[in-house]
């Protein structure tokens, strides 16, 4: 992959295939789905953050005119049913089911308790008010450090700390402890001439997708369950439904409709099993929609965290040791992204001596869900702020300090694995040369900050089928739901192989009955892995069509070659035929050609980014304005540069929101007091400048076109970059997210 390849389709900017449907309002998203005889479901949620459920009486709701069915945890297969064949997995399954409907305890405000199906959504809502629930209210635990105290109220009486196979005896809120150790940490700090140690706190934030969760379910009389919904992974939904409902996958079809944003938050299921239970109970199709408050209070945010970072370096800038403790809030059930945070925290740097401890801690908040590079942003806020402080202390330019210590091919990541070819250094160099970084920065209360970030990216399973049409176009069938233009980026890879224009590919995302297993759209994997599958499926088409050409020309298959969309004979006969013309001859040469591929590629390659931001601080109000933003990122190879830029710009802006204003604000009872788009303040377009996205291309050796996933890493650097810019502007180090106006006023000593 060292030579610069010339491509016909890759790197161009065609109109996305689903674009016209989406600009005309014709695209069908989950909530848009209509079906005859539809009932409407509504979920009753716990008003308490921590409470034992004493009793639930649904009789008044059932008697309400228009109500067709009410379900509670009683309608889920019981834990005993599951315990039989799942062994240890049953504990996780109990958590999974309890998050659908609380069975014994409500563990967060908004925890689902019961649901009603009625003839219209207003009646369902009225009926929810008629469900009588008796609670024994318990004290909530709302913060990770508080939850780790020995005398903290306990969420799960059976939960003990697991630490790689070892478990403690005592009930605790610390679900697990993990550790990475490299070299000799004490020796590393002994060698250091400058050591900086700081504590960081980050708030609970939400993915903030604009489309609320939705699901429509129907059971046929033969027991076939169909679920229409928006999701990041139809097969993941099928798996979770099968486990929660104890129902065979062969009887479940999940139809993914268009999805209105996910960012990791539409992987876990919430109301999909509820719709299925209501459909089963009523014998009718049932649509369940969340409202915005449900989304904030009942679905996974990404967790708050408490992080300590200690880094030591020699005077020449060489980092000799780095140590961290990461405590992440898992929410009500174990499973925070602390593992990913631990993997990423020092990943951009080649450091000899490292010690990383991570803690997964349950608290009375919604079960955390993945959010774009889960855990990495929390971790980078700490690391990149300390690296900035180190640079200042050492009197070295912060970009230079990163260049001196930045990880390269062959370096060992702190958690063990060795890096293949990566592009971190290239992102630093691109930032250094960018006119933004070289421009003047000296105005009063203006400041410039930089920060870098890493995300490991994943591969996993993808399947693609290609049907060749007689007019030389192809129908490409895939299982990856398209959140940000992946129909185009996948189609373009098949088009490149076949030498046809992107417009000659008709990509379709299909249901779980119609394509091979495909993992979720997440982990920055879709353009990489499903694109790889499209590449391989197209290669399969080429192979089969070579045989057709051979048949046509009566030559041996080995004597047919394919290049630039033309099949030609290489031995003896002077024959040539285009892909398009040969497509027209398929029926005469043996019938349809169907290419297929299923992949689980192992070379996702890591993604790195370096960001530069200019801010202005209003020192009277504590408000921070973003003046200019430049993000450099290694995309490996940008298939559709516009959508790569879009991923970068979108990730940056989510990071800006996280940095400045977004957070779950709780009262003492554990109620989120800002569960609306009014008061959970995501950036509007008036809060932002244009975001300059600079694509660096260091091809990934693990992909035929060099693709690296691009979706997640752009959210990692912004909070640290902005914190560093605020420091540059007013000389104050902010160590708590969000860096909201009141926190700035406090830090400046104005209040």
């Amino acid at each position: 992959m060292s030579e610069k390849k010339e491509y016909k389709v890759i790197g161009t900017r065609p109109i996305r295939h689903d674009g016209v449907d989406k600009v005309t309002g014709r695209a069908i998203y989950g909530a848009d789905f209509q079906i005859t005889g539809l009932l409407h479901g509504r979920v009753l949620r716990s008003p308490h953050a921590h409470a034992r459920i004493v009793s639930i009486d649904t009789s008044r709701a059932e008697a309400h005119p228009g109500v067709k069915g009410v379900v509670t945890a009683q309608d889920l297969p019981t834990a005993e049913d599951k315990m039989a064949d799942l062994g240890e997995g049953a504990v996780n399954l109990k958590y999974l089911c309890d998050n659908i409907f609380a069975s014994d305890k409500a563990l967060y405000k908004g925890h689902a308790i019961a649901a009603v199906a009625a003839t219209n959504p207003h009646i369902a809502e009225e009926a929810c008010e008629l469900i009588d629930v008796e609670y024994e209210v318990l004290p909530p635990v709302l913060e990770v450090r508080q939850a780790m105290e020995p005398d903290a109220p306990i969420l799960h009486e059976n939960l003990t700390t697991s630490s790689l196979g070892d478990t403690e005896d005592k009930p605790t809120n610390i679900a697990s402890h993990l550790q990475h150790k490299k070299g000799d940490i004490d020796k590393g700090f002994d060698e250091a001439e400058v050591v900086i140690e700081r504590d960081f706190v980050t708030g609970t934030v939400h993915q903030g997708y604009i489309e609320p969760h939705n699901a429509t379910a129907h059971y046929n009389q033969d027991g076939q369950l169909t679920v229409w919904c928006s999701t990041q992974g139809a097969f993941t939904v099928r798996e979770q439904l099968a486990e929660i409902l104890q129902y065979p996958v062969s009887k479940i079809k999940v139809v993914p409709l268009e999805i209105g944003g996910g960012f990791g938050g539409k992987i876990n299921v919430y109301i999909k099993p509820v719709a299925a239970l209501l459909a089963k109970k009523t014998g009718k199709p049932v649509k369940v929609l969340m409202n915005r408050a449900d989304v904030f209070e009942g679905t996974g945010p990404t967790p708050a965290s408490y992080i300590t970072i200690k880094i030591g370096a020699k005077k020449d800038g060489k980092i000799t040791a780095a140590q961290t403790s990461l405590a992440f809030e898992a929410g009500a059930y174990p499973g925070s992204p602390v593992g990913a945070g631990a993997m990423c925290v020092f990943a951009p740097y080649n450091i000899e001596n490292v010690l990383i401890d991570g803690y997964d801690v349950v608290v009375n908040k919604p079960k955390s869900a993945p959010y774009r590079a889960p855990g990495a942003t929390n971790a980078a806020f700490g690391t990149e702020t300390v690296v900035d402080e180190l640079a200042e202390e050492l009197n070295i330019d912060p970009l230079e300090l990163r260049l001196m210590n930045g990880a390269k091919e062959g370096d060992r990541r702190p958690d063990g694995p060795v890096y293949p070819r990566i592009g971190f250094i290239e992102t630093l160099e691109a930032a250094k040369e960018h006119p933004h970084y070289t421009s003047a920065n000296g105005k009063k209360y203006h400041g410039r900050g930089i920060a870098s970030g890493f995300w490991f990216n994943i591969g996993l399973e993808s399947s693609v089928t290609i049907n060749v049409n007689p007019d030389g176009t192809i129908n490409l069938v895939e299982g990856s739901t398209d959140i940000g233009g992946t129909r185009a980026s996948i189609a373009m890879q098949a088009a490149e192989v076949l030498g046809i224009p992107a417009e000659s590919v008709n990509p379709t995302v299909v249901d779980t009955n119609s394509i091979g297993y495909t993992a979720v759209t997440g982990g920055s994997r879709t353009t990489y892995a499903t694109g790889y599958a499209a590449y391989e499926a197209a290669q399969d088409v080429v192979k089969q069509m070579k045989a057709r050409a051979a048949k046509l020309w009566e030559v041996d298959e080995d004597n047919v070659q394919f290049a630039d969309g033309e099949f030609s004979s290489i031995n003896g006969k002077e024959e040539q035929i285009s892909f398009r013309d040969l497509s027209a001859k398929l029926s005469q040469t043996g019938g349809p050609v169907v290419g297929r591929a299923t992949m689980n590629p192992a070379g996702a390659g890591g993604a790195f980014a370096t960001h530069v931001v200019d801010v202005e601080v209003d020192v009277d109000t504590g408000k921070v304005e973003i003046l200019r933003y430049t993000a450099t990122q290694d995309a490996g190879k940008a298939i559709h540069p516009s959508y790569v830029e879009g991923q970068i710009q979108g990730g940056v802006v989510q990071g800006i929101g996280w940095a400045l204003n977004e957070e779950y604000i709780y009262n003492d009872e554990g109620t989120m007091t800002n569960a609306s788009f009014l008061d959970y303040r995501m950036p509007t377009c008036l809060d932002l400048p244009m975001i300059d996205a600079v694509i660096v291309e260091v091809p990934n050796p693990g992909h035929p076109y060099g693709v690296r996933g691009v979706g997640e890493v752009p959210i990692v650097p912004p909070p640290a970059a902005i914190a560093n810019a605020i420091y540059d502007a007013i000389g104050i180090r902010m160590t708590e997210l969000p860096m909201s106006p009141d926190r700035l006023l406090k830090a400046m000593g104005k209040i």
């Binding site: 903030g208 999805i259 960012f263 609306s676 950036p683």
Partner: protein, 156 residues
Amino acid sequence: MARRSHVQTTINGETVEFLCEPRQSLLEVLRDELHLTGAKEGCNNGNCGACSVILDGRLVNSCLVLGVETEGKSVETIEGLAEPETLHPIQDAFLENAALQCGICTPGFIMSAKALLDNNPNPTEHEVRYWLAGNLCRCTGYDKIVRAVLDAAAAT
């Protein structure tokens, strides 16, 4: 169930009659009664703009209008914007600029942009950002949306 009222209104130039309860918003009527699902529900309280439509020439959040209030009025929705064979210039500009990712906010942004350009055919970048501040997008960072609207203004 509360009594349903008969309402006659004009939607995308066509006279439309429907029955609705007073508590049903224009958004619910469009989506559930008339199956015009281009307007989306993102927040149902006027803070995301995904349900933006034009009511008697003025941009509104259809979640904050009652269906019964539209008696005798004229409603423009995303479904009425394109000609049978050509897209509206704003729609073209959104496609050319890759100004959408998931697309859920797109109909609202396009209707909002249309109201802007009807009102101010040559807006500055700041004017575009100010006008569109009531429309939330979580995917794009707004960069390409703002460029698309500026491009559409230049094209018309």
